[in-house]
C-alpha cells in the first residue's frame, strides 16, 4: 500500500476542501481504481461519471497504472479561452 498525491483545481479544490488529496493505493492500481477511491470521499458528488485524470501532465485512460512517483491531477471541465 502506498500513497498517491492527487492535485485538485478550481471547483474540485473547493468541493474537496483543499488543493490535494492523499489516496492510498495498492501496487499496480490503475487510474480507475484511484477514481473509485476518491469517490468514497466527502465532496465527491461534484465528479462527473468519468472524470478526467492527468498523469504526468497528460490525460490518462482509466486502465493506466498509477503509483506514488507519478504526478497525478483530477481535471475539472476545462473552460479556457
Amino acid at each position: 500500500m502506498s500513497i498517491v498525491t492527487v492535485q485538485l483545481f478550481a471547483s474540485y479544490a473547493e468541493s474537496f476542501g483543499g488543493p490535494t488529496l492523499e489516496i492510498p493505493l495498492d501496487p499496480g492500481s490503475t487510474v480507475g481504481d484511484l477514481v473509485d477511491n476518491i469517490r468514497a470521499l466527502p465532496g465527491a458528488y461534484i465528479l462527473p461519471e468519468s472524470p478526467r485524470v492527468a498523469v504526468n501532465r497528460r490525460f490518462a485512460s482509466f486502465d493506466q497504472v498509477v503509483g506514488p512517483r507519478d504526478e497525478v491531477a483530477l481535471i475539472p471541465p476545462v473552460a479556457g479561452g
Binding site: 492527468a54 501532465r57 481535471i75 471541465p77 479561452g81
Partner: protein, 146 residues
C-alpha cells in the same frame, strides 16, 4: 518561432504578431479572446482564471505540434493569461504566420478550438447579482464565452 505560455501579465497581441512576422510569410492570423460583460444571459463583472500551469503549457505545446503537422505552420505563438481579469481584458491570444492565408487561418481556429477542449484552465465568473460560479462548458446550460 514557436512558443506557448501561461502568463500573469497583460497580453499584448501586437507583440505576439511581431514575434511571428517575417518576409517569408504572406499571411498572419490572430485570434484574441476577451472578457465580455455577459455569459449565458447573465451580467458578468469580472473573471478569475486559474490553471494547472505546468500541464497547461505542455498541452499547449502538444496542440502547437499537432497544428504544425496538420497545417505546416511553424510560426505560431500562444499566450493564455491567468489571474483576476477585468471586462475587456485579453484572456488568450494566438498568432500564426504562413506563406499563404488558408493554413494560417485554419491553424488559428484549430488552436483556439483545442484550447477550449483540453487545456487545463478554469474560470470563475463573477456576476452582476453578486454570485460567482465556475464555468462548466460540459453542463447543459454552459455556453462558451468566446
Amino acid at each position: 518561432m514557436r512558443r506557448a505560455a501561461i502568463v500573469t501579465r497583460e497580453i499584448q497581441p501586437a507583440e505576439l504578431m511581431a514575434e511571428v512576422r517575417s518576409i517569408e510569410f504572406g499571411a498572419i492570423s490572430l485570434f484574441a479572446g476577451t472578457v465580455r460583460d455577459t455569459n449565458d444571459g447573465r451580467g458578468v463583472t469580472a473573471i478569475d482564471y486559474s490553471a494547472y500551469t505546468s500541464m497547461a503549457e505542455s498541452e499547449l505545446d502538444r496542440i502547437l505540434d499537432e497544428a504544425q503537422g496538420r497545417f505546416g505552420v511553424s510560426a505560431i505563438v500562444v499566450e493564455h493569461r491567468v489571474g483576476a481579469l477585468a471586462l475587456g481584458d485579453v484572456s488568450v491570444a494566438i498568432v500564426a504566420a504562413h506563406a499563404h492565408r488558408a493554413p494560417a487561418l485554419e491553424c488559428t481556429r484549430f488552436v483556439i478550438d483545442e484550447i477550449k477542449k483540453r487545456v487545463p484552465i478554469w474560470k470563475l465568473e463573477h456576476y452582476a447579482d453578486g454570485a460567482r460560479e465556475w464555468v462548466d462548458p460540459t453542463a447543459s446550460s454552459g455556453v462558451a464565452t468566446a
